[in-house]
Symmetry: C2
Subunit: 218 residues, 2 copies
């Protein structure tokens, strides 16, 4: 029930990329099958959780044997939409935007940077190793109507992030990866995921402080 009615648990979804990577690793090591225990080793997760997660996808394991690496990897790729290529646009060609635009790992994983936008006219025409050229931000809508853009990465300063997000949404793009620190307001139906380095660092500093207190006490 609810097997393939479309509903994977949220938590399972967020781990599928991890499994995919683990299987890739196993495949490179020429392992033909893997047990849930083996995947646990590769991902650092608990084996029972892995079995439950994978059971949501259907029945791809064999009792007494394990999971067929190729088959399961393919299945997860299909589920994640990795069997097709995705076109991404980067908005904001500052430090971070440039680093992202030149990152080769994207292409390997099926994400192609097809457009780059920036508000600064002096950056117009700059290009990347991948061949994308920086265009003025006011072209976003026009470009996006001409070529498919699946995902926009917002890498602008915080001060213009919301404005940019509005333009992105107006251009009909419904998936956003947000590097700006604030929470973006978007209409229903638009998915946003946020990457925030400061938050990660702050959480690390919390734990560091905590550990120090404990050592001081004990």
């Amino acid at each position: 029930m609810a097997q393939h009615a479309g509903g994977l648990p949220e938590a399972t979804i967020s781990r599928l990329p991890l499994y995919h990577r683990a299987l890739l690793e196993a495949a490179e090591l020429k392992e033909l099958t893997v047990s849930s225990e083996r995947i646990a080793e590769l991902t650092g997760l608990n084996a029972a959780k892995i079995r439950k997660d994978l059971s949501h996808l259907g029945t791809y394991g064999t009792r007494g044997v394990g999971y067929n690496v190729e088959q399961l990897m393919h299945q997860i790729a299909r589920e994640l939409g990795l069997t097709e290529d995705w076109a991404i646009a980067i908005v904001g060609f500052g430090n971070l935007g440039q680093a992202l635009a030149n990152y080769k790992g994207f292409l390997e994983r099926g994400f192609e940077v097809v457009a780059i936008f920036d508000a600064d006219p002096s950056k117009e025409g700059m290009s990347t190793t991948g061949g994308a050229v920086v265009m003025p931000i006011d072209q976003l809508k026009a470009i996006s109507s001409r070529k498919r853009i699946d995902i926009a990465i917002i890498a602008t300063p915080a001060s213009s992030a919301q404005e940019v997000a509005d333009l992105v949404v107006a251009a009909g793009i419904t998936s956003i990866l947000n590097f700006a620190p604030q929470v973006l307001a978007v209409p229903e139906g638009v998915s946003v995921r946020k990457v925030d380095l400061s938050i990660e660092l702050q959480i690390l500093s919390f734990y560091k402080q905590r550990t120090r207190m404990k050592t001081a006490e004990g």
Copy 2:
């Protein structure tokens, strides 16, 4: 009970940086007090959750009024360890490492890049806007014994990330922010947080595909 015995729920901890940012915003707007409802607006979270989270810190609200912005912000900053400065080292001075090293937002939030390492000798001596200079990776241990390094950011290619992590741990650094795609093996007591762009993109593509299927059906 367990109030200040040191145990905030994991989920609460991960939201504290969000509250801190929201309060900063409220302070900039000259708001003296905020209700949980107001914080909910600023963060996109649910007000009841916010009240519960904040109640874990102690009693800083006033019934009928709300929370004092300055006081609560300070309290959260203290809890997160943001009242002190943290020294970070960046390992790997490629595209990403350079972007991180030049990012001014860190300093604003109390994180100073005090050292940069890279295995490539040709990068040695390069420097950043912040004044840090790239040093050979084999100096990591020596440097870290001379000056305090609280957090290491691993921004190397995947192929050397584990090796680098071992060096980082050997140098006595116990907090790691990992940009490499794989799960790092570290001894107990070392905190690692992972930032993985591909995972974020893959999750976005999952939802995108999912939405498309739904629209196609309906």
